[in-house]
C-alpha cells in the first residue's frame, strides 16, 4: 500500500489530490504503467513522463528508482517557485 499524491495540472487531470494504491511495482516506471492501465484519465495524464517529476518520501527522485520501502510517491510537473 502506498500513498500517491498529484500536484498542479496533473492533480487537475486525474481529478484527485491523493489516493492509496495497492501495488506490486518494482520501480516508479512500473507504477506509472499500472496507473496508465487503470483509466483513460491516468493514461492521458501520464502520456509523457519526460514532462513530469517524481518525489519518493518527499525527496526528488527518478522514474527508474526502486519503490521498495517507499510510503509516499508524488507526481507533478516541473516546479515553478520563486
Amino acid at each position: 500500500m502506498i500513498e500517491i499524491l498529484y500536484f498542479a495540472w496533473l492533480r487537475e487531470r486525474i481529478g484527485i489530490p491523493k489516493e492509496t494504491w495497492m501495488t506490486e511495482a518494482v520501480t516508479v516506471a512500473d507504477l506509472v504503467d499500472e496507473l496508465r492501465a487503470r483509466e483513460e484519465r491516468y493514461a492521458i495524464a501520464f502520456e509523457d513522463i519526460s514532462s513530469l517529476r517524481v518525489a519518493l518520501d518527499q525527496e526528488l527522485s527518478s522514474f527508474d528508482a526502486p519503490l521498495s520501502g517507499v510510503r509516499e510517491v508524488a507526481f507533478f510537473p516541473p516546479m515553478t517557485g520563486g
Binding site: Q58, M79, G81
Partner: protein, 148 residues
Amino acid sequence: MRVVVQDAPFDPGAELTAFSAGSAGVGAVVSFSGIVRDDHGDLDALEIEHYPGMTERALTQQAKTAMQRFGLADVLVIHRYGRLAPDEPIMMVATAAAHRRAAFQGSEFMMDYLKSRAPFWKKEHRAGQTEWVNAKLSDEDALMRWHR
C-alpha cells in the same frame, strides 16, 4: 536559519530588519524578494500550490547546503502559497556573511534552487481563465552553473 512557508502576506523590509538584527557580527546582508508581476495588465491573481511537508524539508535542506558551501552566518527563506494579487511579495531569501561575495552567491544559489527544485507551482488567473505557468529552460540552466 529560518524557513517559513505561509499563506499570509509578509513585508520583506520588516523581515530584513528582523533578519539583520539577528545577525550580529556580519559585514554583508543580501536580500532578494520576488513580486507578482502583471505584465499585460490583465492578471487577476497568481495562485501558488505547494507540497506541504516536502516544501519545508527541501528548503531547509537547501538552506543548510548554502550555509556550508558559502560559509554563511545565516539564511532566511519565506515563501507564500495560496492566492496572491499583483505587486504582492511572493517570497524572499536573505543571506548574511562576513563578505559581500558569499552573501550574494548564497542568495543567488538559493533562488536558482527555489525556482526549479522546491515543490511550488504557479497558476495565473486572467479574465476568468486560468493557466499553469510553464517551467523555463533558463531556470534549469541557472541551476546547472552551481554543479561543479
